[in-house]
């Protein structure tokens, strides 16, 4: 029933949008959908989590849903006054696909059945592939092809993992996480390990973990700004969630150590790939995409460690999503100002458009984990977790790779912001407001959650 409610508005609004084909109406429908979405997200949090308890929605689901709701609302505001240069038909396709994309993510975030989670993750691929190739030029087509094809293979492998999980269960197998965890002790360990490896590769492809990350920089750099923000801030989390669920299954079967080891290995590989490419690439949207790979690596390491570091992982998820979405939306401003994606051709941002310039600089300061960024606190706790668990080598490597990433991002950000520009431009207010709101929330929400904790 819950899924029907999630899909009800997108289906009705999608039909209306397709029939009337009006750009203004489409923007309004997206905004209304995002407001309903945000309202539901808030209702899950307050008061006393009664609604989430009644709907049997766990804390992970509430957290990931709320993050995606905030991002969607910000993107809906951002696109209100944005000149997307779309025909009425294209605008309707955009609206339908965007609402379907968000509803699919909601389904995956809220479900506690691995089969349903898989189905919804697959539908995110179907809906978002269209959004990535929206500009219909060679590059966007190439990006969409890589995204669709690589993620389809990944998702097919994850499906195989689910089939193996059915084999692993002794009798009357189920895909309900609660039931699987309940009988964790009796699950066949060989099949469970094999199943986890397939799911890690499968869903890991969608998370953009190295070495399965090849689609991510292409898709994030070629998609429109709002879609890049959702891909990076919300979709990667949605794909991560089934892996976190499977980690619990493995722990119930006394195999938690295997999940932790594999998480740390893939997390470090992602950090390494990001550190190498951030020093090399000149396309600022690709830089941000590699930074997403880095952060997903950090989050994976956090959840591998568990305890306080695991909680820090949740804060990191929130912080990264909000900051990165603000960063991608600012990158959208940058592109509309300079019509170039190479940062060597975009200097003097602070002088040309101080609002975007300051937003860019704050995003940079926040994403590298400087206080008051929530990433400062999460990374601090993850580092302490690595120390406490005796992973000194991982910690040392992490610091080295992080330093290189900070250098790469800093070099690009300073080149973009500094310098002088003769031209002065001012974009519509709604193209600054969402970023400011997201950055403010990135600082305020973790504090509020800590204060409101019972």
């Amino acid at each position: 029933m819950l899924y029907l409610y999630i899909w009800l508005f997108p289906i009705l609004a999608g039909a209306l949008s397709w029939l009337l084909k009006s750009e203004k109406l489409n923007k309004l429908l997206i905004l209304i959908h995002s407001v309903i979405h945000l309202g539901f997200g808030l209702a899950l949090f307050f008061p006393g989590r009664r609604l989430s308890a009644a709907l049997n929605i766990d804390n992970y689901s509430v957290w990931f849903f709320a993050v995606s709701a905030l991002l969607y609302f910000a993107v809906a505001i951002y696109t209100l006054q944005q000149d997307q240069r779309l025909s009425p038909r294209q605008s309707s396709i955009y609206a339908v696909c965007l609402m379907a994309f968000v509803a699919s993510m909601d389904g995956a975030n809220l479900s506690r059945d691995l089969g349903l989670i898989w189905v919804f993750v697959e539908t995110t691929t179907l809906a978002s592939a269209m959004l990535i190739s929206f500009e219909h030029h060679k590059q966007s087509l190439e990006a969409a092809w890589k995204y669709l094809f690589i993620c389809s293979i990944g998702i097919a492998l994850a499906f195989m993992g689910i089939l193996l999980l059915i084999i692993a269960q002794p009798a009357t197998p189920s895909l309900s996480l609660d039931r699987i965890i309940q009988r964790g002790y009796w699950i066949n360990s060989f099949w469970l390990k094999l199943s986890f490896v397939f799911m890690l590769i499968g869903f890991g492809t969608k998370v953009g973990l190295a070495p399965m990350h090849f689609w991510l920089p292409d898709a994030h750099s070629e998609a429109p700004a709002g879609i890049s923000a959702l891909l990076s801030g919300a979709l990667l989390n949605t794909a991560l969630l089934p892996l976190l669920r499977m980690q619990k299954v493995l722990s119930a079967a006394q195999l938690g150590y295997l999940a932790s080891q594999l998480f740390i290995a893939l997390g470090l590989a992602s950090l390494f790939v990001a550190a190498v490419f951030i020093l090399k690439v000149k396309n600022y949207k690709r830089l941000l995409a590699y930074s997403s790979i880095e952060n997903m690596g950090i989050i994976l390491i956090a959840f591998a460690l568990g305890d306080l570091a695991g909680k820090a992982g949740l804060i990191h998820t929130l912080g990264h999503s909000l900051i990165k979405a603000a960063f991608f939306l600012s990158a959208g401003n940058l592109y509309s100002l300079y019509k170039a994606k190479d940062y060597n051709r975009c200097s003097g941002l602070l002088s040309r458009d101080p609002n975007t310039g300051w937003l860019w600089l704050i995003c940079f300061v926040f994403i590298i984990g400087m206080p008051p960024s929530p990433l400062f606190f999460s990374e601090l706790y993850i580092a302490l977790g690595l120390l406490a668990s005796g992973n000194y080598f991982v910690l040392a490597l992490w610091f080295i790779l992080l330093a290189s990433i900070v250098y790469g991002l800093g070099k690009a950000s300073l080149e973009i912001c500094m310098g002088y520009s003769e031209e002065k431009t001012r974009l519509p207010f709604s193209q600054y407001l969402p970023q400011a709101m997201l950055l403010l929330l990135a600082v305020a929400v973790p504090i509020a959650v800590l204060l409101l904790r019972p």
Partner: protein, 211 residues
């Protein structure tokens, strides 16, 4: 009967290793679709009319007719005259397929030991088909061949879901149908667009975006 069909399915994988004709792989897809239909009928003990229609739609209509027809149509329309263009020789490909079979059956023996409800021949062939699909994607340059590799992999996954048999929750059928939808999206929307945008339709051409 089911064993014979499984062996024919396995032979079709070997044939995919040695054929250089795109139309040869299309024929393999048609045969595999038909075999999957027959296997579903044979392996499922209770099949009502609705389920029968669903299975027939998935296997015969989509897997054996629509998708192969569409691929053949794309080949003809875009004048793809050069054939499969593998990056490795047929001999090497056949060797790899043999190794994949060996590995598949090795895993199948494990399945026989630790999970008696699984039939090793069925599991071994399904597992080999999945790996073979991945190998075709890795070892070929043409995007249309990549799509065919993906479809062979999907057929392997379908076969694996049959191996689970009556234990299979309904959600798995939904998953299989969604995979078919995804194959259609890849095929219809992108292969056509890509073929019209990029001249040769080779993966080498898709390298504008790189670091």
């Amino acid at each position: 009967m089911a064993d014979v069909l499984l062996v024919i399915f396995g032979v079709s994988l070997l044939f995919a290793s040695i054929t250089n004709m795109l139309s040869g792989i299309v024929k393999i897809l048609v045969w595999q679709g038909l075999i999957l239909f027959l296997l579903t009928i044979l392996k499922t003990t209770q099949l009502n009319l609705w389920e029968f229609a669903f299975v027939a739609l998935e296997t015969i209509v989509f897997k054996a007719i629509l998708i192969p027809w569409f691929i053949q149509d794309t080949i003809n329309k875009n004048g793809i005259i050069r054939e499969v263009e593998p990056s490795v020789s047929n001999f090497f490909s056949l060797g790899v397929m043999t190794a994949i079979f060996a590995f598949g059956f090795f895993i199948a023996l494990w399945s026989g030991k630790s999970s008696p409800k699984l039939y090793p021949l069925h599991f071994g062939i399904a597992f080999s088909a999945i790996l073979k699909g991945l190998f075709i994607i890795i070892a070929n340059k043409k995007l249309i061949t990549h799509l065919m590799g993906y479809l062979i992999m999907e057929n392997g996954i379908f076969l694996l879901s049959l191996a689970i048999g009556s234990d299979m929750p309904h959600i798995v059928s939904l998953g299989v149908s969604l995979d078919i939808m995804l194959s259609i999206l890849i095929a219809v929307l992108f292969i056509n667009k890509i073929s019209s945008t990029f001249q040769e339709g080779d993966s080498d051409e898709l390298s504008i975006l790189k670091d």
